[in-house]
């Protein structure tokens, strides 16, 4: 199976604090195409920092992040904007969407930035909203959607442009149990159907129980890397 993301000796130290904080310590990992991976660990273990670094939102102090044979850690900021747009889908904790756009427009937005043809954008946006069960909410703005529905739109947006992988930072953190399971079902199904690599940061046991690979971080270092057969 093709390696989508590879990290080599990844370290990140924050020096803008009173005492330097080592958020990541020498992390070397590989993520294969189609994997459904949960990054778990207690608060402050480095989950979000790890996602930010492999998502090109933050730079490591040391080490490499190799995606598509390119070390994104050495890229300039402007190159990273392009890289994120073309290769990575993001789902954040909550309030992910652009409030002034409808569900369809939100899902189309990344494709718009990618300058895809309008017909393709609209078709794909509707298709993705149908897949996340929101075909009746195409023209609804986020403030008229529940938290769970908003996260489903965010997942549809992240997947619509067919990125190499999707990073989700605690996507179920603000959802009730039913909405969380619903979202996880959709993500698991899309992971299989679209063969997209999904990497979550979470401390939500409901997510951990669905993941086929669970990487546990403790104090910025990999403590465990376990694989489960969920089928």
């Amino acid at each position: 199976m093709k390696t989508v993301i590879e990290t080599k000796g990844l370290s990140k130290t924050y020096t803008n604090t009173a005492v330097p904080v080592e958020a990541l310590k020498d992390i070397s990992l590989e993520f294969k195409e189609g994997e459904f991976t949960a990054i778990v660990g207690p608060s402050g273990s480095g989950k979000t920092t790890f996602l930010n670094v492999i998502g090109g939102l933050d730079k490591p102090t040391k080490g490499k992040v190799i995606i598509d044979n390119v070390d994104i850690a050495s890229m300039k900021e402007s190159q990273l904007f392009d890289f994120r747009l073309k290769h990575i889908g993001f789902v954040f904790q909550a309030y992910n969407l652009i409030p002034v756009l409808t569900a369809t427009e939100n899902v189309s937005f990344i494709m718009l930035l990618q300058k895809r043809p309008k017909e393709e954008m609209n078709k794909r946006a509707k298709e993705m909203l149908e897949q996340v069960g929101l075909s009746d909410k195409l023209d609804v703005r986020p403030n008229k959607l529940s938290g769970g529905q908003q996260q489903r739109v965010a997942v549809a947006r992240a997947l619509a442009s067919r990125p190499d992988f999707v990073l989700a930072d605690e996507p179920t953190a603000n959802l009730d149990t039913e909405s969380a399971f619903n979202l996880l079902d959709i993500m698991a199904r899309l992971n299989k159907e679209e063969n997209i690599t999904l990497v979550f940061s979470t401390h939500d046991q409901r997510v951990i129980d669905r993941a086929r690979r669970v990487i546990t971080l403790v104090d910025g270092a990999v403590d465990k890397d376990e694989t489960f057969d969920r089928d």
Partner: protein
């Protein structure tokens, strides 16, 4: 879609957007009104002073300006006036015999400037016939020669239409001459000083009294196009090197510099007000950016480039300015147009004394069409400048931190 996002962002907080739009409308309205009043006053002053009094160009004997006496005449004045009237840039010419003298009524005297004119040529030149507000403008000749005086002078001499006054002056040989004139009409202009000082008689009557039927001491010239005054006066000076040729800007330098100053700087009267309003606009957009930190972080995280984020903020600001600016320009255009017909009477605010300084108490505000376009450019330019700081704040956000903003 970026345009759609910007447009919808503006109306996310419609009350705040409306407040700043109203501020821009009032700023433009106030600025344009102030500018229109200022320009209206100066243009009225130009019309009164240049078109009703000094004309575009005047020719004199070089000594006459310092010593306005009858013997400083223009050689072959009538012939020169005839030649000047043939110049392609010249519309009307009025040859005059002008000198200082004294006007006396039964119990009052006043120093005056006596102007002997051809009634038809003078009306064509200074519109004197239409400035007569009581009596007639040189009617049928009667037993006494006729005089047209300013209303202020008539009040000072305590005379009225039909009254007799005596004018005393020197003839061509320097001898004192006195003659009775009957007041045929009273004229009124904005400047009370001009009304008190200047009176008009037929040049034929005056020339007979001074003993020179063809004496001309002043030639007033009106051009087809006032903007050619420098060119035409230069050509006339070249043609008549022994005669002093002066254009209105030479004769009325304060008026000239005042108009020049306005032409160059009027836009900044409005510009300063718009600059003030721009800080309100900056504040509005800055608040809007600070309320959207998380959203802007997400936009940049998913790959929206900083240039586009910057452009979006600038675009939002510019749309607000364009809405307010357009409304302000349309309203001010309508208001100025209405007041230009109706006039703004400042007599109630102590404006009656304006005439002492040569200004009218009713002001007709006016602005050129091109000025509205200049204001529009200033509005957009200041809006873009005002947007730069909030937009810069937006692109300085670190996406990884901004997406976690509560």
């Amino acid at each position: 879609m970026l345009v759609k996002i910007s447009w919808r962002n503006i109306w996310r907080n419609s009350a705040r957007s409306l407040v700043i739009i109203i501020a821009i409308v009032l700023g433009v309205l106030g600025g344009n009104f102030s500018a229109a009043i200022r320009l209206g006053v100066e243009r009225q002053n130009f019309k009164e002073t240049v078109e009703h009094q000094v004309s575009h160009i005047q020719l004199h004997h070089p000594e006459f300006i310092a010593n306005p006496e009858a013997h400083y005449r223009i050689e072959d004045g009538l012939k020169v006036a005839g030649e000047i009237s043939q110049h392609p840039g010249v519309d009307v010419v009025s040859p005059r015999i002008v000198f200082d003298g004294m006007a006396s009524s039964a119990n009052m005297n006043a120093g005056v400037r006596i102007k002997g004119v051809d009634p038809e040529a003078e009306t064509a030149t200074t519109d004197l016939g239409n400035l007569v507000t009581s009596g007639n403008y040189f009617g049928e000749p009667g037993r006494l020669p006729q005089v047209i005086t300013g209303k202020e002078l008539a009040d000072e001499l305590n005379v009225e239409v039909g009254s007799r006054i005596v004018l005393t002056f020197q003839d061509m040989t320097g001898e004192m001459v006195s003659a009775s004139f009957r007041i045929e009409g009273l004229y009124e202009v904005t400047s009370t000083a001009f009304e008190k000082r200047n009176l008009f008689v037929r040049s034929d009557d005056l020339n007979e009294l001074i003993g020179d039927q063809e004496a001309v001491t002043e030639i007033a010239v009106v051009l087809h196009d006032v903007d050619t005054y420098r060119k035409v006066s230069g050509e006339l000076q070249d043609t008549y090197p022994d005669i002093s040729v002066r254009h209105w800007a030479d004769m009325q330098p304060s008026l000239y510099y005042s108009l020049e100053f306005l032409n160059r700087n009027l836009i900044w009267i409005v510009g300063l007000i718009i600059l003030g309003v721009s800080f309100g606009l900056l504040n509005t957009i800055l608040m809007s950016v600070l309320e959207r930190i998380r959203e802007l972080g997400i936009l940049m995280a998913i790959g929206m480039k900083k240039a586009k984020v910057f452009g979006m903020i600038v675009f939002e600001t510019t749309i607000l300015a364009i809405i307010g600016g357009t409304a302000g320009l349309i309203l001010s255009w309508g208001m100025i147009r209405y007041l230009n017909h109706r006039g703004v009477d400042i007599a109630a605010f102590g404006g009656e004394g304006m005439g002492d300084f040569g200004y009218a108490s009713v002001i007709y505000p006016e602005l050129d069409t091109a000025f509205y376009f200049q204001v529009a450019i200033v509005i957009v330019a200041f809006a873009i400048l005002a947007a730069c700081y909030p937009a810069w704040k937006a692109i300085r956000l670190v996406p990884a931190e901004a997406v976690r903003e509560e």
